[in-house]
């Protein structure tokens, strides 16, 4: 790969990562707050207690700020597909386009319609209709996320398609296999719960700030109850769905699992590293250097999580590159070199197919198509030169994964402690806990970002697992141009983030509509 295209690949990756990361600062709070608002409003409709109405309206205002500033930031990712990743965009065809189109329609019609009723409809529609609108905002934003995640899941586990050498596109042959793949629904659940987690921790943290300031304490306790409940459920469900994710990663992306665990040499009955530090002296996957400076391991757990068998063999990086280990279906894993040969065979068949078609040799073209199909599962390996290229950034994946898990367990503990103090009715006097809840808000965002780092860095070098590596997916664009737009985006998104934080902090300091709320309190 020449220097220019290497630069284009890296800048395109950096730009996509930057945009996705910023986008993901807005999305989780939108989905998480939508649920919390809906629960609060449900309590209002059920009990008729006006305090819940004003509590709900306050969080609706915060939701509105986040939604207005964050809306459409994801569109920029779609711009990038057409410019920086045009080979990829063409190659994936309607498989990627269909979920995104459905997402666009749902996002526009469902969210736009019901958000307008939610904001403008108080006193215009009945309580129940308004409540239904609020719930449908939550459903709409979740469905919107579902289709985006279906598209992402397909890249991690491509199913339901057939490659057409004539159009050079993967064409969808089974919509439901794409939409309901086990990776897709598990990813949807795990990601959605991470949004709830952000919403819950945000509400609990902001409510704690009011308690610290001794302002709107009734409102703060109400918010803390719902925020902590949603947060606790979310983090527990994240642990459960995280187990599902680990299982699917083990089956479909074993290199990612090896990177998450820093596992270089596979073994039977592999343990899960609870805490560990990687050895920076390890520079090659096949050197004899110990990969860890230290590690605390839970015996057999990785085998159990990944293969539902405490004695199952979990392949390490070296095994995946060298091949030869037994697979779940009874076959033996191919080495990188074997897959590279097959990948090149598939690519050559694509070239030969085209020549045969142009020369009118249809029978030959049909034979080349058969060879292409037989080897298509290894297509992407034909773009790689060495086994090292198969290995993602292990320290980044390893630390991101472990830090994310630690934050998750920290939050479960935090919410349990908050519930204990709420139950004892002395939460408003427990200032240390209020400080912890307040200053922990960024941790839930960090955990969400780390989750995406694990998912996306851990699957490198692939844009589509085993089929298309990033260096083949990128357009023939100049690295300098992408660098320029990278800087533009960094400025634009930072501006939006500053606007979001400034406006939100101002509204939080202002608090719920005092006149309305305290009129009810008195």
């Amino acid at each position: 790969m020449d220097l220019l295209s290497a630069s284009a690949v890296n800048w395109s990756r950096a730009q996509f990562a930057l945009t996705a990361s910023y986008h993901w600062l807005f999305v989780p709070l939108t989905i998480g707050l939508a649920l919390i608002m809906a629960i609060m409003e449900s309590i209002y409709v059920k009990t008729g207690d006006e305090k819940w109405k004003h509590t709900s309206k306050f969080w609706q205002k915060i939701f509105g700020i986040n939604f207005a500033i964050g809306v459409a930031t994801g569109i920029i990712l779609e711009f990038q597909f057409g410019t920086n990743w045009s080979n990829y965009s063409w190659f994936v065809g309607d498989i990627f386009g269909a979920p995104l189109a459905i997402e666009g329609i749902i996002a526009f019609f469902l969210e736009a319609t019901f958000i307008s009723i939610m904001f403008f409809g108080w006193n215009r529609v009945s309580r129940k209709t308004h409540l239904l609108s609020t719930w449908l905002v939550f459903v709409g934003s979740s469905l919107s996320a579902f289709w985006i995640l279906v598209a992402n899941a397909w890249m991690q586990y491509p199913v339901g398609m057939e490659f057409n050498p004539e159009t050079v596109r993967n064409e969808m042959v089974d919509f439901w296999a794409v939409a309901l793949s086990p990776v897709a629904y598990n990813k949807f659940l795990h990601t959605t719960f991470s949004c709830w987690a952000v919403g819950g921790s945000f509400v609990a943290g902001v409510a704690s700030w009011y308690l610290l300031k001794k302002r709107h304490t009734d409102f703060a306790i109400q918010s803390l109850r719902i925020g902590s409940l949603v947060g606790l459920v979310a983090f527990v469900m994240l642990a459960i769905t995280g187990d599902g994710s680990a299982y699917h990663v083990a089956q479909k992306q074993p290199m990612k699992l090896a990177a998450m665990e820093g596992l270089y040499e596979g073994k039977e009955g592999a343990g899960l590293v609870a805490v560990g530090m990687l050895n920076p002296a390890k520079t090659a996957y096949n050197d004899e250097v110990d990969p860890y400076i230290f590690k605390l391991e839970i015996p057999k757990l990785l085998s159990l999580l990944g293969y539902r068998n405490i004695n199952a063999f979990v392949p390490g990086v070296k095994d995946i590159v060298d091949g030869g280990y037994p697979l779940a279906d009874g076959t033996t894993a191919l080495s990188f070199e074997e897959r590279k040969v097959r990948g090149k065979k598939a690519i050559q068949a694509l070239a030969d197919y085209q020549v045969a078609r142009e020369e009118g040799r249809d029978a030959d073209a049909a034979n080349h198509e058969i060879i292409l199909r037989e080897n298509y599962a290894h297509f992407g390996y034909g773009y790689l030169e060495t086994g090292e290229e198969l290995i993602p950034n292990i320290p980044l994946t390893f630390y991101s994964f472990h830090l994310m898990v630690m934050i998750g367990f920290f939050y479960i503990l935090l919410f349990l402690v908050i519930f204990y103090y709420l139950y004892r009715k002395n939460m408003s006097r427990t200032r240390w806990l209020q400080y912890v809840a307040l200053w922990s808000i960024p941790l839930s965002y960090i955990a969400g970002q780390l989750g995406w780092v694990v998912a996306e860095v851990g699957r490198q070098p692939w844009t589509i697992q085993d089929i298309l590596p990033v260096n083949a997916a990128v357009s023939a664009v100049s690295g300098e141009n992408v660098m320029t737009t990278f800087i533009l985006f960094a400025v634009l998104f930072t501006g939006l983030l500053v606007a979001e934080v400034t406006i939100m902090v101002k509204q939080i300091k202002k608090g719920p509509e005092v006149a309305e709320y305290e009129k009810v309190e008195n």
Binding site: I65, A72, F79, I117, L350
Partner: protein
């Protein structure tokens, strides 16, 4: 507890809801609309046409040429990996 005053049932009017909503916006809502609109203008009228053209759509007129371009790219990149 405040007693809720029963409002007379009036026919729901979409247009009136939007009209009243937009004409009675508070300062926060106006600020948010300005931020959202400026952002969308920057995205659709500056970034997209000047910095993010669709490479295939702007270079080729039909799908056959686009497919040919991508095929050539894929084959050339594979030969570069030899």
């Amino acid at each position: 507890m405040e007693i809720e005053i029963m409002r007379p049932v009036v026919k729901f009017n979409w247009f009136k809801m939007f009209w009243d909503g937009f004409t009675n916006m508070n300062r926060l809502s106006k600020t948010l609309w300005i931020v959202a609109i400026v952002k969308l203008i920057i995205m659709y009228f500056i970034l997209r046409p000047f910095f993010f053209p669709n490479v295939l759509d702007t270079t080729y007129d039909n799908d056959a040429d686009k497919a040919k371009h991508v095929r050539t790219e894929l084959l050339e990149k594979a030969s570069g990996a030899e």
